[in-house]
Amino acid sequence: MTRTFSMGGVHPSDSKISRGCAIEVLPTPPTVYIQLSQHIGAPAKPLVAVGDSVKVGQPIAEPGGFVSAYIHSSVSGKVKSIAPRKDLAGNNQMCIEITVEGDEWMEGIDTSDTLITDIIDDNKAILDKIRLGGVVGLGGATFPTHVKLSPPPGKKCEMLIINGCECEPYLTSDFRTLLEKGEQVVVGTAIIKQVLGVDKATIGIEDNKPEAIAHINEVLASLRKVSPKFEGIEVMSLMKKYPEGGEKQLIDAVMGRQVASGGLPIDVGAVVQNVATALAVYDAVQKNKPIIDNSVTVTGECFPRQANLLVRVGTPLSYIVDYLGGMPADAAKVISGGPMMGRAIANMDAATLKGTSALLFLTEKQTRREPEGPCIRCGKCAQACPMGLEPFLLNRLARAGKVEELEDNAVQDCIECGCCLYSCPAHIPLLDIIRPAKGQVIGLIRARKAAQAAK
């Protein structure tokens, strides 16, 4: 039996039709729009003014708080405007618009392909480089990495987990990164491991990516001969099951431990980082290269050309689509991310963010929701829930507005993975109903805590 998380999960077809597409560099667009809020936490504050000339990798915005991150120019050129612009959901967000002129990089950034395996011993300097490189978690949450790598005093990390599951159907950018930049990912892993002061790191990869598992094992074998800093890093093959890459599920699968409700991974001694984040850490620490680009899977059965592209942050989505042959006529929905947790895009003029991992095109048939029928109490939603919740019950309670009972039945633990809605044979929009109820209960819990603190 391959390892996996202990409860729930679903097995959608993995549809990784772009798995054979090597990462190719997308030509730089004529204009980029770099959003000031592309991480969890406070938006960054601009460091440049309209009319300024900027180079690739130059910081153009600084953290707006403790939980925030630096933002760098992804191109060289002139700042044309700093103004609100519609993001992919259609909401206004402050953006720095830069007109591209040439491709001039900041001094000190190593743009060569040379692999640097020597890791400096000064952890403080490393953390600084990660912070200055604007590294955020690229697995979806975009939480500033330097914050996550500085556990609160008294908490001890026992295991670093590098998330290479890529359990969302269709997505292959992490898979291609593991195959093509495996060495860099492993060095990045060793850096994070050293900063955290842990002996063990596990790179978890689902067993539908055997090439990646074999490749990383080879890389590890050769790097272990170079330096003892690569000891203690292992690859773990995990069963293909969604949502294996969910932080709590991955900790359960790898360590057999469960994070208590309301707790953090560090409470059970775990820190989880994504493969793409490990690569970003490598770039920031070894190459002085901040996050200025990231790989994006562009895919979908109806899309003319499958691709994995290295895209400059702030590239308009329409530019990517036009480069690959234009919008397919039968595409009804474009999703940023995977089909289970990704967000539907309302505005193709929006630009990519650091955390944009995929553009997925679905036809109306693929994404159609059937009309809702009566609940037949089959319990498939509860069997599918990776948090062990009972969505059928939460759905009923939410519709009845029973907030206290919702809290008793742990609606606040919902990770919004979508397994319940995906598996409901009566096509009840379970997550649509549960999501706002969860928000309501979390608001209630916060208000209660605030009231207690005020006493």
């Binding site: 409860m7 679903v10 959608p12 959901a89 159907p169 709590k248 359960d252 469960q258 994070v259 208590a260 409700s261 919008m327 006529a329 595409a331 009804a332 929905k333 999703i335 089909p339 289970m340 947790m341 990704g342 967000r343 539907a344 895009i345 309302a346 193709m348 997925l360 679905l362 109306e364 994404t367 159609r368 929701r369 059937e370 009309p371 029928g373 009566p374 609940c375 037949i376 109490r377 089959c378 319990g379 498939k380 509860a382 948090m387 062990g388 919740l389 009972e390 059928f392 742990a410 633990d413 979508g418 809605l421 995906y422 598996s423 044979p425 009566a426 096509h427 997550l431 649509d432 999501r435």
Partner: protein
Amino acid sequence: MSRLLVSPSPHIHAKESTASLMRDVVIALIPAVLVSVVFYGWKELLVLAVSVLSCLVLEYVITRYMMKKENNTLCDFSAAVTGILLALNLPYTTPWWVVFIGAAVAIGVGKMTFGGLGQNVFNPALVGRVFLLVSYPTYMTHWEAPQSLFGVDAVSGPTPLGIIKEGLLQGNTVPQLMADNGLNYGQMLFASVGGSAGEISAIALLIGFVYLLVKKVIRPHITLSIWATVAVVSLIFWLCAPDRFTDPLFNLLTGGMILGSCFMATDYVTSPMSVKGGIIFGIGIGFITMMIRYFGSYPEGMSFAILIMNATVPLLNMWFHQKKYGRA
């Protein structure tokens, strides 16, 4: 540019639907239906046809004209499942109008009074069957020589459980009754034991049960807990007094045990949601069945046991929940 659909995640859905699950149950019942038609002939076919058609028509008429719902549940196969299960629970000799009354009670009273699909407390087919059992006992325990379709010799006469119950009342012992009436397990397992259509072949029913497990339509915990309870309870009694009490294998293979435990007790709507609740539900069914068989006035207790335990499901759902991640 074309307009884009925007809606919350997830953006894809599993292929399973209520209709596909119910269709799988119909498919799973095909072996048992075939065996019953082969053994009991055109009369069994008539019972099946009347039952299924009545259920479908009544479901349509009631949802459309009494509940005034546009969105009809006719296409989801649930009424067809009720119809087939009811037919398999009746003797092949049941007159068509009795079958119709059974279907009317099953759908009209058992299902629709509670609000239709998903709302009923009791298994509709069993409500129909038990109504007929107490209202028309003569038809429900009337046995005559079958007129087989393909000339297969079928056993006529009462069910093995009926033989034992009658015989024990007359002062005979179990081993003696088994020998006198030529009752053996091979016969019970494969076919040609007297009884209602669904009781004649355990193997045909088990094939369907395995199909449902493989297709992941149902989980095995309820069925297994019924079997385990029946086996344990009857083993204790049989070991204590083999003359008065039938053995575990006999109890597992006779009566509506297989049909009830595989297809009726596992009905989604009327069984508990959690595995813990389901196991207790199964233990209850197994225990009540054995008490009725050993000490009750009916030879067979499966239907009553399931209906009684159906009534406890809301409580079991309230008391037992599945284990949650990261919580004690």
